[in-house]
Amino acid sequence: MLVLQNLSNALILACTYILMAAGLTMVYGVLKVLHIAHASVYTVGAFIGVLAFSWVGNFWVALTIAMLVSGVFGVLIYRSTYFYLLNSPRTVPLIASVGMFVMFTDLLQKPFLMGAYQRAFPAGGAGLPAIKTALFSFTPKQVLILLVTIILLAIVYLILTRTKLGLSWQAASMDRDMASAVGINLNQSIAANFFLGSALAGAAGVLVGVYNNSVFATMGDLPSYKAFIIIVLGGMGSLPGAILASLILAIVENFLVASIGYVLPRDSIAFLVLILMLMFRPNGLLGRE
């Protein structure tokens, strides 16, 4: 059934958006800055993932390594830049973020890093089976993405709601100064937040790298723009909102393309949706600010 197949493909597409958006919304929640350099973290994650995979041969190990490295990279970004700009006017860290994005993208393209070309990430479905039913089917790769996304989201949810760390983030996102006043170590909290958010981005990069069997220096650009759109749609700082918005966006994109084709490229459609949302419902679907 074509519709159901489109729907199931959209689900997988949404998974690739979700992890990126989840990481971004977490960071935004606490930092209140549009972390545009998130795109670079995603790309670095994919790069480390493919390298690790070529050394180790095991997808799960490669994924873990990639997530760790991405997390550390994210913390470094925070510590070297945003840390000093926490109390500056909002445009300042935003511009700094753009600057980092531009810088990293250029550096990543250099031959001593990723080079200008694409490389394959032949992890396949990591040995998982395909799922075939009468109505729709998932290839092994798609099953893999679904599985990893669910696992990671579950972990994040637990951290957010059940740990002290997670609660500190919720507090900090509501009022940073108050949170600090009641004894939360802001610096550590934000660093940990960055670590997790960036690790999620790295995981997203790995998954997309495997899904499309290609890893390249500019692969983070479009996903990060989409991620912004998603967190606005879903409400800045809301994880359930990001999940919901990812699903909606993926479904809308796929169905538009399947029915009327590319009137405009996918990302422009997404941006149009964004602009309309900003005009009529700036707080997003489930936002609270």
Binding site: K32, V33, L34, T81, Y84, L85, S88, P89, R90, T91, V92, P93, L94, I95, A96, V98, G99, M100, F101, V102, M103, F104, T105, D106, L107, Y225, F228, I229, V232, Y262, V263, L264, P265, D267, S268, F271, L272, L274, I275, L278, M279, F280, P282
Partner: protein, 303 residues
């Protein structure tokens, strides 16, 4: 009429000075951060190109049309700024950039991906000038015009209203300044001026393609203002000049151009967020001190 290498650099620099100044009205005076200014450059360029290529309009008409039409569209596209601020606005302007470029690419009227080529050179009193000194005079004149508009804005009531909006929108509202009106003005004027540059750009290069106006270009223009100093007259000028010239002069930078730009932005934000020659910057204070010491006094009192 060919342009020498130096002349070409100067012509482009003049264009980018105008562009930076125009963006400064929006970002520096009105405090509306826009990451989509290249869209206005593109709208102006395409307007002028379409009118002269498809409808054989004379250059000057197309040039004026580019300014006016881009200004109108800019005013309209500024509407999101009424509902949203800061980060949301940045995203919205980014979105506008993407959507505008896609429209140029997907709508055949604009030539689509094949772009518009054979854009005629401007003629005046029977002289056609594709480049050379005449074109430099044209772009320089436009830069001066833009500068004058910025100066005027910064001096008049509109300018003061802009400054208060930038500092605090709610306070501005309480003073009877209607932020909405001035934000729209800012978008309109800023876009109109950029549209004029677009026309000059299109007629100089002789062809336009959608990818000339992508998001990365917007980042470039914003960088010039940030680097030079937001909200001043001298800032965008200096920023445009330096960011256009430095890659030309330092060859080893060429291969790492974007790394350089990016690092520059970050460093500026960390150390001198007001820009190299912004009002509070270290360098500007030195310059002022130097001038106050000399009997010439305030030759550089452009504010």
């Amino acid at each position: 009429m060919a342009s020498g290498y130096l002349l070409t650099i100067l012509i482009f620099t003049a264009m980018y000075i105008s562009l930076a100044l125009s963006l400064n009205i929006l970002v520096g005076y009105a405090g509306q951060v826009s990451l989509g200014h290249a869209a206005f450059l593109g709208i102006g360029a395409y307007t002028s190109a379409v009118l002269t290529v498809r409808y054989e309009a004379p250059f000057w008409l197309a040039f004026l049309a580019a300014i006016i039409l881009t200004g109108l569209i800019g005013t309209f596209l500024g509407l999101p700024s009424l509902r949203v601020r800061h980060d949301f606005l940045v995203l919205a302007t980014m979105g506008i950039n993407f959507v505008v470029v896609s429209v140029f690419k997907y709508v055949d009227f604009f030539g689509g991906a094949m772009g518009l080529v054979n854009i005629p050179a401007p003629t005046l009193f029977g002289i056609t000038f594709r480049g050379g000194i005449p074109y430099l005079l044209l772009t320089a004149a436009y830069a001066l015009f833009t500068l004058w508009i910025c100066w005027y804005i910064s001096k008049t009531w509109s300018g003061l209203a802009f400054q208060t909006i930038r500092n605090d929108e709610d306070a501005a509202a309480s003073l009877g300044v209607n932020p909405a009106r001035y934000k729209i003005y800012a978008f309109g004027i800023s876009a109109a001026l950029a549209g004029g540059v677009g026309s000059l750009y299109a007629h100089f290069l002789g062809s336009v393609f959608p990818d000339n106006f992508v998001f990365v270009e917007s980042i470039g223009v914003l960088s010039m203002i940030i680097f030079g100093g937001i909200g001043t007259l001298r800032g965008p000028i200096v920023g445009a000049i330096l960011l256009r010239l430095i890659p030309e002069l330092l060859r080893f930078i060429q291969d790492y151009r974007f790394t350089f730009y990016g690092a520059l932005l970050v460093l500026m934000m960390l150390f001198q967020p007001m820009g190299l020659l912004g009002n509070e910057s270290w360098l500007w204070r030195q310059v002022k001190r130097w001038f106050q010491a000399s009997p010439q006094g305030s030759k550089e009192a452009m504010r």
